[in-house]
């Protein structure tokens, strides 16, 4: 309940530090920022674990209410963004892939085409770009919706009705965003690679579609598929956690919502970059 939530996330400490008078020395300021960052990480970690617990424990609870909400979130974080992602895939293909193919062809390095495409598009650009775009489009909306609901007392109303706010508000968003980012990344990668070849073809690069896609297929290993799935699901999970945490897990007033939205997006980008770094290490190790 309310008191327990506040204790779990040490919100009082967070608020005290955020609203305290600015320290006079830079070292004190740095110390405060560091402490705030640690408290935020602690809060995010606790929130992520609570959400995971609720997903596992309550997957059979109120399915007739929660499943339509999950479908709605998949639509919002996936299907509804498809037109935008088709455009981005075409643009990415023309701007990046086409030029890379053309440049490699000029220096006679088309043998490296497959591995270059896999590293640039499949491993890095596809997942990261998708995550950042979904964060901007859906993550921001999450913070604003949940922050407004929190400020208007709707979360207390859910608790009064015996409805777990994490189950009703967070779980559908987390699942929807994880599946949405996973699916959109696949479409983005396929779209970018296909449009990249079209661009290369228009530039008279002597490369047949068969050779082009054969090289890419040969450069792809089972690990790429596994890590791509893991990475995109992790991006979706953590973006949803960060945005929902800032919208829901702290007492808000209406005037706080915009400030919190900016903070959530910034932290969302940082989380994506950190996760990406973790996966780079995984790629290098395996």
């Amino acid at each position: 309940m309310r008191g327990n939530l506040a204790k779990t996330f040490h919100l009082t400490n967070l608020q005290v530090f955020r609203h305290a008078v600015a320290p006079k020395s830079y070292t004190d300021l740095l110390g405060r920022k560091l402490f705030l960052a640690l408290l935020t990480i602690q809060g995010l970690g606790a929130f992520a674990l609570i959400t995971l617990g609720v997903i596992l424990k309550k997957h059979r609870v109120a399915r007739s209410v929660v499943q339509p909400r999950i479908r709605h979130e998949i639509n919002r974080a996936g299907v509804a963004l498809l037109p935008m992602f088709i455009f981005i895939a075409l643009a990415l293909g023309f701007l990046v892939v086409g030029q890379t193919v053309s440049a490699l062809a000029k220096v006679g390095a088309t043998d490296y085409l497959g591995s270059t495409m896999v590293i640039v598009i499949v491993r890095e650009l596809g997942p990261l770009l998708t995550a950042v775009l979904v964060l901007a489009r859906v993550g921001t909306a999450n913070v604003i919706e949940l922050g407004t609901a929190r400020a208007l007392g709707e979360v207390e109303a859910l608790e009064a009705l015996g409805i777990d706010p994490v189950h009703y508000l967070i779980v559908p968003r987390v699942i929807g965003m994880a599946l949405g980012i996973f699916s959109l990344t696949i479409y983005l990668i396929i779209g970018a690679l296909a449009s990249g070849w079209v661009f290369a073809f228009l530039q008279d690069v002597p490369l047949t579609p068969g050779d082009y896609f054969k090289q890419i297929a040969e450069a792809l290993g089972w690990l790429d598929f596994a890590l791509l799935a893991l990475k995109t699901l992790a991006f979706g999970f953590f973006i949803a956690i960060v945005t929902c945490y800032h919208g829901l897990a702290q007492p808000l007033r209406l005037e706080d919502v915009s400030r919190v939205a900016v903070r959530a997006v910034t932290q969302g980008v940082i989380v994506c970059v950190l996760l990406d770094a973790v996966f780079i290490v995984l790629y290098l190790v395996t």
Partner: protein, 262 residues
Amino acid sequence: MNETTINPAVVEMREASVSALRDTTLTVLENVNWSVLPGEFWVVAGQPQSGKSDLLMTAAGLLLPARGSCRVFGCETNAFGEAQLAERLRVGLVFAGGQLFSQLTVAENVALPLRYQKNLSAAEAAPAVAALLEMLELTPFADRTPANLAAQWRSRAALARALILKPELLLLDNPLAGLGTRTHQWLLTFLDQLWRGHEWFGGQPMTIVASTDDFRPWRHSGRKFAVLDEKKFFELGAWSAVEAARSPAVKELLAEPQEFSS
């Protein structure tokens, strides 16, 4: 066998300190000793910011007492968890502003607790929702969102949402605030029907606790009254005790609002 065993209190606070909802480190009421027995109708009055809402939130188990204990249907609210969900659902809470879910229509708002707790589809919940909306004269507004409703209909929708699970204890936070005299009368009559046993609830009398910042509309011989003043909870008893009270706080809550003079 003592009286408590035969007739356990619906809400029982012992030496309870009530925290503020917005900042749980602040204490708004101290040493509250209060027992609400089944079938009682309590009216708790206090000035704005006196802790009325926080007291009701504590009684509903949404806020933990900073000190002391609060039992609801014999269950310590500190221990309220998933296992005690059935006890929590015996309590209905109507918030001061309604706190309806802004993204849902009135009918969806009312249906949500029923659908969630009993895992029903919208079609399965529809008959019960329609009957309750009809009873509260909300049928014409069923498909509207809260933002498109007048305050009186929002408060009725909030009442309908709290009643859909047929609670045994109904807590209403300042239900008459911002409503016109006609709506006052309708609501007081309806609450009286609930208290005596409404047919929709199988004629079972309901325990009711309402908070207010004006005693006068609640004058009724069968109700019990209490006042919040200077962080204290004072039990007054029947209406005659309210009228006989000499406390300035009670007199102020009984006084006609002063006209603004330029």
